[in-house]
Amino acid sequence: MTIFHFFNCAILTFGPHAVYYSATPLSEYDTIGTSIKSAVVYLVTALVKLVCLATFLKVSESDSFDPYQELLKALIGFIDVAGLYFALTQLTHRNISQNHKFQAVGLGWAFADSILHRLAPLWVGARGLEFTWDYILQGLEANANLVLSISLAALGSLIWLRKNKPKTLIPIIYACAGIVATMPSITSYLKLALGWHFPKVVGFELFTSLVMAFISWQLFAACQRPSNRE
């Protein structure tokens, strides 16, 4: 039963990434190299973030929400954005259209995130006799994270790779990018300050990820229209 449960949770956590890759044209254009490169960039970014957190952050015993600490964490979170920038702009990709580039980068990013943060707890915990809902919820969180990563990559590519954008949309783009980038801080605020339980937090993440994905899709389409007209 327990290995079975582990198998189920693993499918829930990592399945969507594989499905995404095979269902969309990414597999036709063989963008796996891009994904792998962005996964590596994620790992490096995570390492840098870890070092910064260890250096600057105080370890607090209580579980309360400390604004100063959270602000510091949010600032360090922007290293994430910097990493994504690097992955989108600085890496040499094969000749892929922008449309697919951000998807591949987002996918690789999310996959590395899931592996790093969710594989170890899953292996250790889901195989035990005791049953908890935690691992299923974690899998759902991984799904939400995938959507958020792709949205962030989309917005990032809009900001840095597309030169001619309609002037009115620019602040909206930046605003959405800001919201998506600070998602970790928002969830920790909900968990600690408002005392939301894990299922509620995961529900919120799923909802916002879908909303953000929709908004960034619309923005992307809107920005694509002017270039198509030209």
């Binding site: 449960h5 189920n8 499905v19 049953f131 529900g203």
Partner: protein
């Protein structure tokens, strides 16, 4: 909360699957971390090759709370060999237990009892005692008996949540239960645990599940009880350790005769249904504490040559008490014969701690014997002053009967005058009143022990110093020689948290070292004698363990989850293909083989 999630994820196509999923989901609710409880195993021993007690230790089965989960589903109740029953002793029905352990036939019960008595009377009929095992009517996977916290040795203070001592009713139930379990041969593990919040919550849950008629198995989920214990092994050469201390008397110059000796003896080991819980506060912790206090008082008197008496004093803490005072027997045989001959008389202490104003002096020599009369009168006069009643009980020894009910009988068999002071009026049966489950700290009263210790010390002192009948109080209260209640309290406390079943005490056990050190403080010459316990008894180890309670989800749940996930991934795949490549692509995925065939033609 769980329901909203499941309805958000599940594909509406599988409507019946949804219903089942929701039911299963409602059952496997969010739970706390695994509960871990200390549990103590029922004793496992062989008496002359006949096995008794629980024969297994490892436990790994689902939990249930009653044999008859629902009478309609009685067919399902048949296979309980993979279930552990959790029974709180509070609500125990003894006839139910008897049915569980023995065959329903009461005559078979009697038959077995008669056989045992027969053996005890005629040791040569050992081979006849190839008693067939009583077939248990209902083979179980295991039994977990929950005792109230009042009986927990770790529960210092010995009071329950309401602050009361345990009711008499439950003590009787425990005594009967213990008697049943000790004399049964049970082929599955039996454990004793204490009620606490975790376990009570689990039990309430299990009862709820059982009420729906669903037995917890691998396919339906529920609670699983796991005790990881190695297979019980025989204890090779169990030792009994006797500790003796010697206080020499004052020998006048020029006197070449040996001084007479008075011995004070108490056995310190116990036996009970759960060796990990046998602390025996009354039987015989009270005797040990009284002996130590008497030794302390006399050591003060004897330290000064002016107050040293003309008697030697011999204090002995013997082991092997429950097993026909085997240790006392070996100790006596180990004593130098000349020393044994100088023993004037010996007082054995056995269970003098409960709240009663009546004690009995048990003797094996007839009461008309002048010496016995003298001893008894000495005790009576002191007891009158203290407000206790002391009665004289005579029980003849049957030399051919191996059963030794009182410690003084071992002395009497070697022609040494001896008597046992006890609150028990009749001789206890074999393996009874030797420190069982109900004999915990709250069944003893410190004041009773203080009074009894004073009774014995005063009587001995008056005899030693020749002050019998005179109005003198040697160990008067508020004097430097008064009986010290805090000494008694602290030793009683120590003994009430230390299980003392002899085969499980090694030669250098901290308890034996502590008793030895204490006697060394009070007496001059302390010796510890290690002997091997009578070969008739074989004990097995593994007396305690940790019980892990897991809440497990059923296989059905995981299968449903797999179904849900599969459909989710397929939906996701189709959705992505349609949005990014168009619907035609999706259809072409399924039509590819046929279109190729068309092309080839």
């Amino acid at each position: 909360m769980a329901k909203s999630q499941s309805s958000a994820l599940v594909e509406p196509v599988y409507s019946s699957a949804i219903a089942l999923l929701i039911i299963v989901v409602a059952c496997a609710e969010l739970c706390d971390a695994v509960a871990v409880v200390d549990v103590y195993r029922l004793v496992q021993y062989d008496l002359a090759g006949v096995p008794f007690g629980s024969r297994l230790a490892a436990l790994n089965h689902h939990a249930a709370s009653s044999l008859f989960s629902s009478s309609a589903a009685a067919g399902a109740a048949a296979d309980l060999s993979r279930t552990v029953l959790i029974l709180p002793v509070r609500d125990l029905n003894l006839t139910f237990i008897r049915e569980l352990l023995f065959s329903v036939d009461l005559c078979a019960c009697m038959f077995w009892m008669i056989k045992l008595i027969e053996y005890l009377n005629n040791p040569e009929k050992l081979e006849v005692l190839g008693v067939k095992y009583i077939e248990e009517k209902k083979p179980l996977g295991g039994l977990l008996l929950l005792l109230p916290q009042v009986f927990n040795p770790q529960n210092i203070g010995g009071k329950d949540e309401a602050g009361h001592a345990p009711a008499v009713g439950i003590k009787e139930v425990l005594l009967d239960l213990e008697r049943l379990l000790i004399h049964a041969n049970i082929p599955y593990p039996v454990y004793f645990g204490f009620e606490d919040d975790h376990v009570n919550a689990v039990l309430a849950d299990v009862k709820k599940n059982d009420a729906t008629g669903q037995l917890a198995t691998a396919t339906t989920g529920g609670y699983k009880l796991v005790v990881a214990a190695p297979e019980p092994k025989k204890i090779v050469s169990p030792t009994v350790s006797n500790i003796q201390g010697w206080l020499p008397g004052l020998r006048a110059d020029g006197d070449s005769n040996q001084l007479p000796t008075i011995a004070v003896v108490a056995s310190y080991d116990t036996f009970g249904a759960a060796p990990g819980l046998s602390v025996g506060s009354d039987s015989n912790g009270s005797g040990v504490v009284a002996l130590l206090e008497i030794a302390r008082l006399f050591s003060i008197l004897y330290s000064n040559p002016k107050t040293r008496g003309r008697y030697n004093l011999l204090f002995a803490l013997t082991s092997g008490g429950p097993y026909n005072y085997n240790g006392t027997h070996k100790w006596l045989h180990g004593l130098d014969q000349r020393l044994r001959e100088t023993i004037d008389y010996s007082i054995c202490l056995n269970s003098i701690g409960s709240i009663r104003n009546e004690l009995y002096l048990h003797v094996s020599k007839p009461p008309e014997n002048a010496y016995i009369k003298q001893i008894f009168e000495g005790f009576s006069s002191v007891s009158e002053e203290l407000g206790i009643k002391v009665g004289l009980k005579h029980k003849k020894i049957n030399i051919s009967n191996p059963r030794v009910a009182w410690e003084h009988e071992q002395f009497s068999r070697l022609r040494v005058t001896a008597a046992t002071l006890s609150e028990l009026s009749v001789a206890p049966d074999f393996l009874e009143s030797v420190g069982g489950l109900s004999d915990s700290r709250n069944s003893v009263d410190e004041d009773s022990i203080t009074r009894s210790a004073k009774l014995v010390a005063e009587s001995l002192a008056r005899h030693i110093y020749g002050q019998e009948g005179k109005n003198i109080d040697v160990f008067a209260d508020d004097s430097s020689l008064s009986v010290n209640p805090s000494y008694i309290r602290s030793w009683l406390q120590f003994l009430s948290i230390t299980p003392r079943v002899a085969p499980f005490l090694s030669k250098n056990d901290p308890l034996i070292m502590a008793l030895k050190k204490e006697l060394e403080d009070h007496t001059a010459d302390v010796r510890v004698q290690h002997e091997v316990l009578d070969g008739m008894f074989t004990f097995y180890d593994s007396t305690s363990g940790r019980l892990h309670i897991y809440q497990v989800a059923s296989v059905t749940f995981d299968l449903l989850l797999l179904l849900v996930l599969g459909s989710y991934l397929i939906t996701l795949f189709s959705f992505l293909v349609i949005t990014t490549r168009g619907l035609d692509d999706l259809i072409s995925l399924f039509r590819r083989p046929t279109s190729r065939k068309v092309k080839a033609v």
